[in-house]
């Protein structure tokens, strides 16, 4: 996997899309520019550059690469959680009362995730970098997965007309749900080599899939970014209105 053309294709293809999207969003003069997405893309690109440098400097099987890979995963999941919170804010843009509860709810969740990870760390005391960071980032990853699913349900519930947000949320869903599913497969097959390769491949494909969905959402659906709740007019009332005229 480490030297194949597919590996380089995924790695540099992903970085290329990230850089192109960052440039596009920065140069975009649209007033509803997705700043939250921009922040996350910057984190993705920065971690990609750090990982690529370590990979070429020390090699695929080096301990340094493993450390840098998981150390850069930590800010990535934090920024992903931040991104999902900002998506919640955007979904509740015109519903301030709902946002007050959602904000409090998200705060409770963040505090609890830190608390549970700290509790685990206190019971299995070890190296802060390799144990707490990994434990915390894994918990945050699955929190993002559940929160993103709830956000999607919320968008359906409030019947949001923000098509761009819907696509962005779907992209995040691809990013988080795919690796979680293959991880379950890995567990079921008791760490078989095939499942390990599939897990590694699916993680990269899902990130690439998210970037492609985001690219479509940002480039093609940007004009519909202003959120308005769809107003449903009963057909009968509409017809009688026309008849009166």
């Amino acid at each position: 996997m480490d030297g194949s053309i597919f590996s380089y294709g995924f790695q540099y293809g992903g970085m290329l899309i990230e850089a192109a999207l960052i440039i596009y969003v920065v140069q975009s003069s649209h007033r509803n520019r997705p700043s939250s997405v921009l922040l996350y893309l910057c984190c993705l690109l920065a971690s990609g550059v750090a990982r690529s440098y370590t990979l070429h400097r020390f090699g695929y099987r080096s301990t340094q690469y493993s450390y840098v890979y998981f150390a850069t995963d930590f800010p990535l999941v934090i920024s992903a959680l931040f991104l999902v919170c900002l998506f919640f804010r955007r979904a509740c843009l015109h519903q301030e009362k709902m946002w007050r509860y959602v904000r409090l709810w998200l705060t409770f969740i963040c505090v609890m995730v830190v608390g549970i990870s700290g509790l685990f760390f206190s019971h299995h005391y070890g190296n802060v970098l390799t144990d707490f960071y990994v434990e915390f980032s894994q918990n945050v990853y699955f929190t993002c997965l559940v929160l993103n699913t709830l956000l999607y349900l919320l968008l359906q519930q409030i019947d949001s007309a923000d098509d761009q947000l819907g696509l962005l949320v779907c992209g995040v869903g691809i990013q988080f749900a795919g690796p979680a599913a293959t991880l379950a497969l890995l567990k079921l097959t008791a760490n078989e080599i095939f499942a390990q390769s599939l897990n590694s491949l699916v993680q990269r494909i899902c990130t690439l899939g998210m970037l492609l969905v985001w690219a479509y959402a940002i480039v093609h659906v940007r004009g519909k970014a202003i959120q308005v709740t769809r107003r449903e007019i009963p057909v009968l009332a509409e017809v009688t209105g026309h008849l009166n005229i």
Binding site: G48, S66, Y69, V77, F142, A184, Q196, Q203, R204
Partner: protein, 58 residues
Amino acid sequence: MKNLVLTFLLALLVVLTCVSIRRMVGGNASFAGQKPALVAIGTDPYPPLPPPPPKPTN
């Protein structure tokens, strides 16, 4: 006050769901010691798993 408690309980439910899913599919995370595979973000190659520890011989 009632809403605050409800919000807290809902947050607790979500966090417990997340942790349960994680324990169910991933087990306890570890990195320097022996670890199962971990979920990660990015298009970079996933680092290889460390070799399993030698089994104690009787």
